[in-house]
Every structure is written in structure tokens, then in C-alpha cells.
């Protein structure tokens, strides 16, 4: 049966020759991941142990836990939370990756993300795995079903195909593309579906940009996103010493819910107004030009990779951010931090007045340096809902690393092109 990438991956995971969009069936993820967070992992471990009586795991290698939240206050509460996680992981023989960076990046560096793999997490931004032709699906509390039974009941999603052509203009990247798609199709344009990206434009996209695009899939209503695997993805994984996996490509006559062609060369910088990423809040950056900002953030599981740090350094090289602007940069992982240091990017950013923070999720969810009431922040974080990064009375604008860096430089919303560094 002609199939999309996600249909093929789920067919394998379900032990079937083929599956069809709309079917509900149990599937076996290759990896079942979580980050430790009070009310989530502690509850799930306790349920697995006490409610289900599971005292040991048949396949502990399928479970992975990250400590990437609540790392930056250094107080007893953090240690208490993390110790519970450490104890459970030791008890069950589960791999625990602590303070290596944001799990959605560390999972790649640790070799869990291979082409054709099926991974679940309670957090939806695991969809970033799609950059490598893997399917990452955020299943919220249904992760418990996976942890307890080894499989989950899922509806096979339909697929919307995006044929990308052209190449990003300078100062434009995947963040602008995802918001372009939301502006084009609406915040439910791909509801309950998987976005599949391919075509010559897709091949021009850097790996970090693919991770960024796939990691933001939920804001189109999609449950995940996936790129056709190519040499670039294989080369990136090979450099990490990761096995090649089994690349999965779509059949030419696969059935798609919709098909769109996007010319990357036509895109312009996008900025999302505070509230949510819905299309009504999505603007071209120049429409918001001049909006004052005092906080700027480059980081998160969707941005903060080497491509983002290079883009920010390009804008800020030899310059300093505007008076009164606090620019915080959080590399997505420690490995990204080290690479950026080696490339001299962090020196450029420090020289511009940026504060480089330890890699974690803490800035993005308002745990570290929370925003104060009435502050305007421009951010590469994943969410701009009220209260996400601190006070519910603060305003969060979202844009690419280039746009955030340029805006920090100007002290108001602008683009890399406008500050002469596109």
C-alpha cells in the first residue's frame, strides 16, 4: 500500500505490513522518554511501581529520562525533585541524562534519534526528532500506557505534505517558516496530522533549522513533523557516531490530506505578538517595527542551536546591545555551548553584552530570571502565552535568533536586514 513516512514508521512499530490514516491501534515506540518534573515523572514512576506492581522492566533500554528543567536555582527543592528521579532511574536501570542540555537536543547527541525511529515523550516538542526522519510524538499522560505496557494506542495520523523549494534569504530561518505556515493555514491547519517536509528547499535547510521547524509542529495543530531523510541528516548523525538507522521515505503515490509548495526564498522575517502563535498574532516583523523591548532571549528546544548562535553572532559582532536591554543566550545543549565557544561565537555574544546561561529549559518557562510585569521580551522560546516566562502582565514576542539579536541591538523590534547584518 502506498504510504507516507509516518504510516511506514507506525506500521513497523505496530508489527504490521501497512497502516492507514484514521486507524487506532497499539504501537511500540523504540524509545519512551520524559524529563523529570514534579507531578509528571514522580507520579508516573509511583503509578508504575505502586499501582501496577511493576518492580522491574523487561526492556529498560526503551526508557530514557532527562534532567533539563529546574537546574538553575541550586536550592534544596531542585535537589529533592532530581533525587527522586535519580532513585527511580537507578531502581529500574533507566538511562538518565542530567544537565547535559535540553533533552530534545541531547536525545540526538546520545544517539536515540535515528532515521525511521519512533519516539514518544509526554512533551510535544519531541517532534524535533523529525529533522532526522524519525517520528517523535508528544503523548502527554498517555506516556504511562507506554511505560506500563510497552505500547500505546494511537490514531494513525493523516499527513500534510510540504514541498519546499528555494532557499532562505539571509536573516530568515525555520522560525519564520513555521509562522508563515501558521499564517497560511491557521493554528489548526494540520490538526491531528503529521507535517512531512521534502523537496530541494528542504535539502538546503541546516539540520538545526529542521529541528526548529519540526519542534514547533504543534502550533499548526500537528502531532508531529518529519523530514525526508537525506545525506545532510546522515552526515550529521555520522559525525555524532550515531548508527544510520533505516531511512524511511514516502511512496510517490502516498495519500496526503493536503499538499503545499512553499518557496523559501519568498519568506520574510516574522514576529508573533503576545498571547499565542495563532495566525491572528502572526505579523511580518516590519509591522511591529519600533516596539520597545528590554528583555531578549535566544535559546529553547526549538532554537539555541549552533545555527542560531551563528546567526546572532553575525548580527552582534563588534556591536553592543541597546542600553537597558538584557540579552540572555542559552545554548540548547552543553555540546552546542562547547562548539559555540570553540567557534568564538560566545565571545562575540558576551562582547555584545549578552549573558550566556547554562543549558537548560529554565529560561523558556519562566523559572530562571522571570519576566516582570509590563516588560516586553523578544524571544526564540517556544511559547508566548501570558505568564509563560514570568509575570502574566509581561509581553512575549517571538521571532528567529536573527530577529531577536537585531531587536536587542536596536532596543526595539527590527530585523537583521534593518541593522545591516542580514
Amino acid at each position: 500500500m502506498p504510504s507516507t513516512i509516518v504510516e511506514k514508521i507506525l506500521a513497523r512499530a505496530a508489527g504490521r505490513d501497512a497502516v492507514t490514516a484514521g486507524e487506532n491501534l497499539p504501537v511500540r515506540p523504540d524509545r519512551m522518554m520524559a524529563y523529570d518534573f514534579p507531578g509528571y515523572t514522580d507520579v508516573m514512576f509511583r503509578q508504575m511501581h505502586d499501582d501496577f506492581g511493576i518492580t522491574e522492566l523487561a526492556e529498560p533500554e526503551r526508557y530514557v529520562v532527562f534532567i533539563d528543567h529546574m537546574l538553575t536555582r541550586g536550592d534544596g527543592r531542585e535537589q529533592e525533585v532530581h533525587q527522586v528521579t535519580r532513585d527511580w532511574c537507578e531502581h529500574y536501570g533507566i538511562a538518565l541524562h542530567e544537565a547535559d542540555g535540553i533533552g530534545h537536543q541531547v536525545m540526538v547527541e546520545q544517539g536515540y534519534v535515528v532515521p525511521g525511529a519512533f519516539l514518544v515523550h509526554f512533551d510535544g516538542h519531541i517532534s524535533g526528532a523529525g529533522a532526522f526522519g524519525a517520528l517523535g510524538w508528544g503523548v502527554r499522560r498517555d506516556l504511562l500506557e507506554g511505560w506500563v505496557t510497552g505500547q500505546l494506542h494511537l490514531d494513525v495520523p493523516a499527513t500534510t505534505r510540504f514541498d519546499l523549494v528555494g532557499e532562505f534569504p539571509p536573516g530568515v530561518d525555520a522560525r519564520d517558516l513555521v509562522h508563515e505556515i501558521i499564517a497560511m493555514l491557521g493554528a489548526d491547519g494540520c490538526a491531528h496530522q503529521v507535517m512531512e517536509f521534502g523537496g530541494p528547499g528542504a535539502e538546503t535547510m541546516a539540520i538545526g533549522h529542521r529541528q526548529s521547524l519540526c519542534g514547533m509542529a504543534m502550533f499548526t495543530g500537528a502531532v508531529s513533523a518529519v523530514f525526508e531523510p537525506d545525506d545532510e541528516a546522515a552526515t550529521h548523525l555520522a559525525a555524532l557516531g550515531v548508527e544510520a538507522g533505516t531511512p524511511v521515505t514516502p511512496d510517490a503515490d502516498a495519500t496526503y490530506a493536503a499538499r503545499h509548495t512553499i518557496d523559501l526564498s519568498t519568506l520574510r522575517p516574522r514576529v508573533v505578538e503576545p498571547g499565542s502563535a495563532r495566525s491572528a498574532n502572526t505579523r511580518h516583523a516590519d509591522e511591529l517595527a519600533g516596539t520597545p523591548v528590554t528583555k531578549a532571549f535566544i535559546g529553547s528546544c526549538a532554537s539555541g542551536r549552533i545555527e542560531d548562535l551563528r546567526a546572532a553572532a553575525l548580527v552582534l559582532d563588534g556591536r553592543t546591545v541597546a542600553d537597558g536591554v538584557d540579552l540572555n543566550v542559552v545554548p540548547t545543549s552543553q555540546a552546542v555551548h562547547d562548539q559555540a565557544e570553540a567557534e568564538g561565537l560566545l565571545d562575540v555574544l558576551r562582547g555584545a553584552g549578552a549573558t550566556i546561561a547554562r543549558s537548560s529549559c529554565d529560561f523558556c518557562f519562566g523559572y530562571q530570571k522571570p519576566l516582570q510585569a509590563d516588560e516586553n521580551c523578544i524571544s526564540t522560546g517556544v511559547l508566548n502565552i501570558s505568564g509563560r516566562m514570568g509575570s502574566t502582565a509581561a509581553n512575549i514576542y517571538m521571532g528567529s535568533a536573527s530577529t531577536v539579536a537585531a531587536s536587542a541591538l536596536a532596543g526595539s523590534i527590527t530585523t537583521a536586514e534593518e541593522v545591516g547584518r542580514a
Partner: protein
């Protein structure tokens, strides 16, 4: 998390409120309150921004209605805890945001996709919902709408009072008392 009994085969009540498209469920209690699971506190803030009489007029069996993409945003669990504590028994919407749908289906809430519901139903209308069939009757306007029935698995989750209860039953366990 609080647990709730499964719904009856036919949910009977009134339409407690009709929300618009892309509705962010956190707004039911206000984003400043999304970390609370305290029932009394949530009762005091529930729907205050929309209708101060909501809390007092809702009866068990009432439902809320949504437009397209209900639950969009970054849904937290307390807003639905607040609504369920008041007796809200189902959400009927034009469509649901996937994250909200998965999270609240896990909790055993009937979430029914019913095209046309947001323009047909009005606050205060009587409503009868055969949730397994997504068959919705609005006697006041003599309307009947047929939505998309939940999958067999989703129906079993709802009938069990949530996914945890279903999994426990499937594994011959009962919830541990804590």
C-alpha cells in the same frame, strides 16, 4: 489528579457556555491560576472573566460548547478540573486541538467533535448527548447534530473514567489508595 465517575450513556443537561475558535482553556480560570488544583479556590475563579453567575447556575450534566480548535495553546489541567467539579460532563466542539484532546481524553472527559454545534447551540439550551454515538439533541430548537463518534479505544477510556482506570482494569489491578 482528581478522578470522576464515567458519564451516563446519555448526558442530559444544559449548554453552560459557548466559546469561540482557538479557545485557550487556561482562560477558564485565568492564566495566573493555572497551577492550582484546590477545588475551592478554582470554584472561586472559574469563568469569572466571562460570567460571574456561571458557577452558581451550572448543574451536573451540563456541557460546554466550543468552536474550531478548542483547547489551543498550552493547555493545563486545572481549568478542566474546575469545570468538572461544577458538573460539566462533556465538551462539544467543531474541532479540538490535539494536545488538549489527548490530555483530557486521558482524564476520561467526553470530547465530541460535532460540526455545526457552535452556531446551533446557545447558552441555556437544553441538551441530550449520546456520547458514544456523538448524537446531540437540542430540544429547545428541535435540532439534532451528528458528530464523529470517539474511537473504540477512546470510548473505552471514557467509559472507564479515564485512561489510568482502564489500564488498571486491563491489568487486573485496582487503583492503589493513597
Amino acid at each position: 489528579m482528581r478522578t470522576y465517575p464515567p458519564p451516563p450513556d446519555v448526558i442530559t443537561g444544559r449548554v453552560a457556555w459557548v466559546f469561540g475558535d482557538d479557545f485557550d482553556i487556561d482562560l477558564v480560570i485565568g492564566v495566573e491560576n493555572i497551577k492550582s488544583y484546590d477545588a475551592d479556590f478554582l470554584r472561586g475563579v472559574c469563568m469569572q472573566a466571562y460570567d460571574p453567575t456561571f458557577v452558581d447556575r451550572v448543574r451536573p450534566g451540563d456541557v460546554v460548547v466550543g468552536g474550531r480548535n478548542f483547547g489551543y495553546g498550552h493547555p493545563h489541567y486545572p481549568p478542566m478540573v474546575a469545570l468538572r467539579d461544577l458538573g460539566i460532563a462533556a465538551v462539544l466542539a467543531e474541532s479540538f486541538s490535539p494536545g488538549f484532546w489527548r490530555g483530557e481524553t486521558y482524564n476520561g472527559m467526553p470530547l465530541l467533535t460535532v460540526p455545526g454545534i457552535s452556531t446551533t447551540a446557545a447558552t441555556g439550551d437544553r441538551v441530550e448527548v449520546d456520547w458514544r454515538a456523538a448524537d446531540v439533541r437540542l430540544p429547545d430548537s428541535d435540532a439534532r447534530l451528528l458528530g464523529t463518534p470517539p474511537s473504540d479505544r477512546a470510548a473505552r477510556v471514557v467509559a472507564a473514567g479515564g485512561s489510568l482506570n482502564l489500564l488498571l482494569a486491563e491489568h487486573g489491578r485496582t487503583p492503589a489508595t493513597t
